[in-house]
Amino acid sequence: MLRPKKMSKVSVAGSKGVLEDAVEVLHELNLVHVTDYDGSWEGFENGNPLEGGEEVSGKLVQVRAVMNTLGVEEDDYDEEEGTGFSTREELYDRLADLRERVNELEDDRNRIRDGLRDAREERRTLEPFVRLGIDIDLLKGHDEIELRVGLGDAEEVRGALEEADGDEYEVFGGDGVVAVASRDIDTDDVLVGVDFSEIDVPDGEGEPADLIDEVENRVETLEGELNGVESRIESLRDEHANFLLAAEEELSIEAQKTDAPLRFATTTNSFYAEGWMPTESYTDMVDRLQEAVGDRVDVRELETVEYNDEGHPEEHASEDDEDEENGNIDDPPVVQDNPGAAKPFEPLVNTINRPKYTELDPTIVVFLTFPFAFGFMIGDMGYGVLYVLMGYAVYKAVDSETLKALGVIGIWSGVFTFIFGYLYDDIFGIHPRGDLGIDFLIGAGVLSKGIQVEQTALMWLVASILFGIIHLNVAHIFGFINDLSHSVKEAVVENASWLLVLNGFFAWVFSLHLAESKPAFLVGEEAVLNENPMFSLGFTGLPEEVGIAMGVVAVVGFVMVVYGEGAIGAIETPTNAFGHVLSYLRIMAVLIAKGGMAFVVNVLVFGAYETEHPYQEGDSYIQFALTAPPSELVSEGQEVAFGGLVWMGLGEGTGVVLMVVGLLAAVAVFVLGHIIVLLLGITAAGIQMVRLEYVEFFGKFYEGGGDKFEPFGKPRKYTKEGR
């Protein structure tokens, strides 16, 4: 659960004569993560590709190129049809034929597209001349008269020429297109600063309108042709999708095999391959390899790697620091081993980095905290159901494993949102029990979000801090266990020391020592942990002596930190032990912010009135008006907070129009408002909690950087073995 699957390093060796068979079997087994030989041993070279690799690769490139041109996708495979080839020759023949046809079609398509682009460009340049309405040939080829055409304002151009020296000019056009004919006038000079940008006169002659008609025709013809080609490409795709997908699979598997010796160490007569596999499947592999090639290859389990990295001392000795930083070349790849319910949270962890083989996998903690905290922050039965549905929709709609996992995370978060919603007595921000008196099962409404109740809000503030302290304790304990494999000393001064600082300091905070200068809600009779509107725990603070003792513990921890990490440790202490705990206050902040937003939506829709505050004497409390207009419910001397769109619509004597408008507005605000809160809930609660996991929690212990387990081989989907 907290550890990945145990891995073994295995070797497969034999004479070159059995190389091909061994590759064949290893590929089919799909169990061994083959590691690349790095060429470092005397007398051993990397192998060369198997015979036939060149041809297979060449054809594979062609298959993929044709698939790319035709736009073949995995979905295009039709189970009911065959693959269209049974031997390699058939495959190649059909490919050669198809490739030729595809290239022709693509040539056609490119030709048409070029033509179309030219024609459209031509149309664009002609368009102003249609507006000008002067024959193209009249605008060109004058020796003495200078003719310029441009986009601009005719009046302005005329005015500019008026002021210029010489008066032999004429200005044609309007409607944004201007032609200027002039003699002996420096038009460059005159037209500076005037609204006139010159355009070139296109080739051709005759009326622009005729010319543009011709171009239009051309565009239309070409568009028709293009459609024709496109549909021929499409029918080629439908016809050959099965063949191409199967051929791609067949050839890429073959290419993987022919490539394999590149990763092996070889001499003139023998080969040696190394790789990793889960220890549990080792015997299985040996049996199957024996069955296929008998004694001709030598398979060995070189070592089983323990989780602490002291397990392989000979490699460790030669490993310098650089190697370690470059991602532990000799660490096995990682196969995470979490229970089914927690599995979907693996991608959330791996987004930061895959855990190293030698460290604890924190997935289970993320599984236990993320949906819980999310549910706590949003806490609403209505939203909870919607999140579950959204998560399920994502799960159903996508193919990618990672996105599916995201869907499941959504479902889990929705479930907890519902549970907390039940405890808060909230459904879309309304309290069925509190507001409507619908008293369902026990436990409903034992908690409250504290939007209007200060003591409750402060209780959640304290709860957020306590949650943070527990979360960070787990983090440091994880770090302690991880470091224990390096050295006990490191584990103590770099992890246990932080546990002392963190717990010592906060135990002092929650103690009666110097109680009078601490905020009243923390310790003393008024402490929220002693009594709050929801429950009373009777905790007024740790005894003064305990507080002082724990303060000393914190100081001891601090000394250890400085000893372990030097000045940096001293600088980091306020952030790590204090700041990171306060960072958890965002949980309470999101709770109140989201609750507040839903509250506002409901006030707008249903209206609300002031009543006496149930807990805080002298304060007023805003109550939704769910059963009757707020003006009817409000008691003497109190005010109506807002009339409510519903009641405005239903009010007496409002008339049909106002009623409809009022009710429509009420529905619109209700639906839109809650959709916004729902979606902001994901970004607020989701992102904030992810941040707490990634920064505050992971930051304390998590290194990551494990390699993905990628066994040599590829399961077949479309084709069968043995061609």
Partner: protein, 359 residues
Amino acid sequence: MVKNVDLSLDTGLNTGSSNYEYVGARVRARKAKLFDDDDYRKMVRMSPNEIARFMEESEYSKEINRLGARHEGVDLIEYALYDNMARHFSDIVSWSNGSLRKTVADYLRKYDAWNVKTVLRGVFTDATVEEIHGDLIPAGELDEEFLDDLAELGSVEKVVEGLEGTVFGEALEEALRDFNDTGVLLPLENAVDRTFYEGLVKGERPAPESPEGVYTNFLRSEIDVLNVRNALRAAGSEQVDVGEYFIEGGDLFKKDELRRLVGNREELVNALRESGFGDSLADAIDALEDTGSLVEFDRALDKLLMQFAGTMTNRHPNSVAPVISYILSKEREVQNIRGIARGKEAGLSVEEIEEEIVI
């Protein structure tokens, strides 16, 4: 003219402030995806078709898939390499804003300078159009078709004429007289380099820690490398006064110094050993003295610039440094793969090909 990489500044966001963080993060991610030791070790043992397939399964998949139904083997590889490089470089320009965009665009003209020089040299030495084409690096603005057309013109004068209107036109026209007088190509090549570099480093030196300063410092190193290359090539030659064609702006040697050294190759090599490049180039200088071959030394200089760019990236992440580092490494990768594919085609051994690779 169809542009290979659009370096014009009038499209897109060339206003506003430079977005070093964004562009830096993207190019660094792309640099991380370049082929590493392991990949090269496999590729040198593959046949051209297998290399093409290997590329299809990496960053080059788009290009191989587009071209794979029409071409194969070494041709496919080369076309894909260059298309891919042009695409990546265009991407960088299109991501960049503000002065960063201008810097990147200016720097990429380096490849135009290279290509123009290649065409000039090819025409001068009566190389075939195919040979010239093979040495082009279409990663700048001038596209291959235009350059091929130039190569077909057959005479240096016509090529210079054909370049009229490009950034190099004016300087080349001026240098043409010197070329006609001396009969060596150096004045023209120099005019191209000068246009490229002196335009970039002229004026006041910006503060060395500012993004502009980081960039000019790197350009100065490039100028040094260029001067060293030219000096080594021309060392001992009587035909032309190399000092005349020294490019200003470098930090390593001053004009007079180089003019003095260029007369004697031995002295030049010794001076190089004493210079700021001495430590990093020690092995290469030894090899140069032993064999006298410039090929290996050139490669060492390429590697040196890549190292400079790498160090610069670490020290100044928010500057154009990551971009330059990526551009150099990408170009190197393209040259490496091309070298492997051609070596394979020519039947070279694995060891011979491995020697060509610079990482």
